[in-house]
């Protein structure tokens, strides 16, 4: 029997991550296939084996969480002042800025200024080259107008001392800002009535902000990611 098509499913089945339909199909197949049944056992043996592989714990000394600053001693403060200042001051500013999310701030500021975009175009082949030379990364620009999210244009946002590209989309009466960052970030959830969604694509982080419903945001995020393939 040709069991190739079940090969990947067996792994998902073993992890309890297979969809119900696939599970049903696979279980029917397993009833009549000794070979695949044997593989289910093999997967179990392998997992058990992996459990005894070496697990390295972080060394207690040497790695410091940036959290130990409870006691305040003048001497140690003076001694570490130079290094501490270079580390703590940026953190402090980042914290303060973080009280209201910078992505939300930029989105609101752009809407309030009446100038949502600096380049107006629904043609992705105009928006992408416009970013070149203004920002140091090349985002993937998609127009999802056939799916209800129309590309309006692009602008350069300033975020954590970086100039980053932001694409603007319109969905009904709602605007959506899609900002692209060079570093990894995770922003998912709600802030002050705005929804945030983030995902990674070829080393860049895409962050979407809008006042749309959560379900619409999810739809946008998944459409955009599907466009990547």
């Amino acid at each position: 029997m040709n069991c190739d098509r079940y090969q990947v499913w067996l792994s998902g089945y073993h992890d309890g991550e297979l969809g119900s339909e696939e599970t049903e199909l696979l279980e029917t197949h397993l009833k009549t296939c000794a070979d695949c049944t044997k593989q289910v056992q093999g997967l179990r043996v392998l997992s058990t084996g992996m459990k005894s592989a070496k697990r390295y714990d972080a060394p207690a000394a040497g790695v410091k969480l940036p959290t130990r600053h409870h006691s305040f001693n003048f001497l140690s403060f003076a001694a570490g002042a130079v290094t501490v200042a270079s580390i703590w001051l940026p953190i402090w500013f980042a914290d303060r800025a973080g009280q209201t999310n910078e992505f939300v701030q930029n989105h609101v500021a752009a809407l309030a200024s009446g100038r949502v975009v600096q380049v107006v175009s629904n043609d992705r082949h105009n928006v992408k080259p416009w970013f070149a030379g203004k920002v140091s990364l090349a985002p993937r620009v998609l127009d999802l107008s056939t799916q209800g999210f129309t590309l309006v244009g692009g602008r350069v946002d300033h975020l954590q001392n970086l100039d980053v590209p932001t694409m603007e989309f319109k969905h009904g009466n709602h605007f959506l800002s899609l900002t692209v960052l060079p570093q990894s970030a995770r922003l998912n959830g709600e802030q002050r009535g705005f929804a945030l969604r983030s995902w990674q694509e070829s080393g860049l982080t895409y962050v979407a902000v809008s006042d749309m419903d959560a379900s619409e945001m999810d739809k946008f995020a998944s459409l955009y990611q599907q466009g990547a393939r």
Binding site: P59, V63, D95
Partner: protein
């Protein structure tokens, strides 16, 4: 001094959400990089970077967040991207008998794991050691959930093959 007084609360929050996953993060880095020094540096670096951008952590996913940062830094040190073409190969059937496994020492398992390609090693660590669901693995690796399943199947086949070779030796 205002910010010094404000810190303890933030420290606690950071420790609860992110700091508690330091062991998992170190384990991943140690397995990817193969030495203690680099793994320590990566963890230290990642914790600081995570702390700086903690305001971006909205939901309760400190573990996937920290592991994502750690993994990205590991590949920077390795100076190569993970081998993605491995995803194209058909996974071979896994034929591991219980006896094979019991005849192997722990040392064999560690060696077999070390010999795997990084993209296979890391996904096995996330799944088998960290018990992470596919959705979280997908986030850390930046791939679709469907790819997690197929890559895991290939990684397991590769590990089984590597173990069989160990047994022959």
């Amino acid at each position: 001094m205002g910010f010094f007084r404000r810190k303890p609360h933030e420290h606690d929050l950071f420790e609860r959400r992110v700091g508690i996953h330091a062991d998992s993060a170190y384990n991943l880095a140690r397995w990817l990089l193969g030495n203690e020094e680099d793994a320590k540096d990566v963890l230290q670096d990642a914790l600081l970077s995570a702390y700086r951008s903690m305001h971006q952590l909205v939901s309760d996913d400190g573990k996937t967040w920290l592991l994502t940062i750690v993994r990205n830094r590991c590949y920077k040190i390795l100076r190569k991207p993970p081998l993605l073409e491995l995803d194209d190969a058909e996974p071979s059937p896994i034929r591991l008998e219980e006896q094979v496994m019991s005849s192997l020492s722990l040392e064999n398992i560690n060696i077999a794991l070390e010999q795997l390609a990084e993209s296979h090693r890391e996904i096995l660590i996330l799944r088998e050691m960290e018990d992470m669901p596919y959705s979280e693995i997908a986030t850390v690796l930046g791939i679709p959930v469907g790819t997690v399943m197929s890559r895991l199947a290939r990684a397991r086949a590769a590990l089984a093959l590597s173990l069989e070779k160990e047994e022959v030796l």
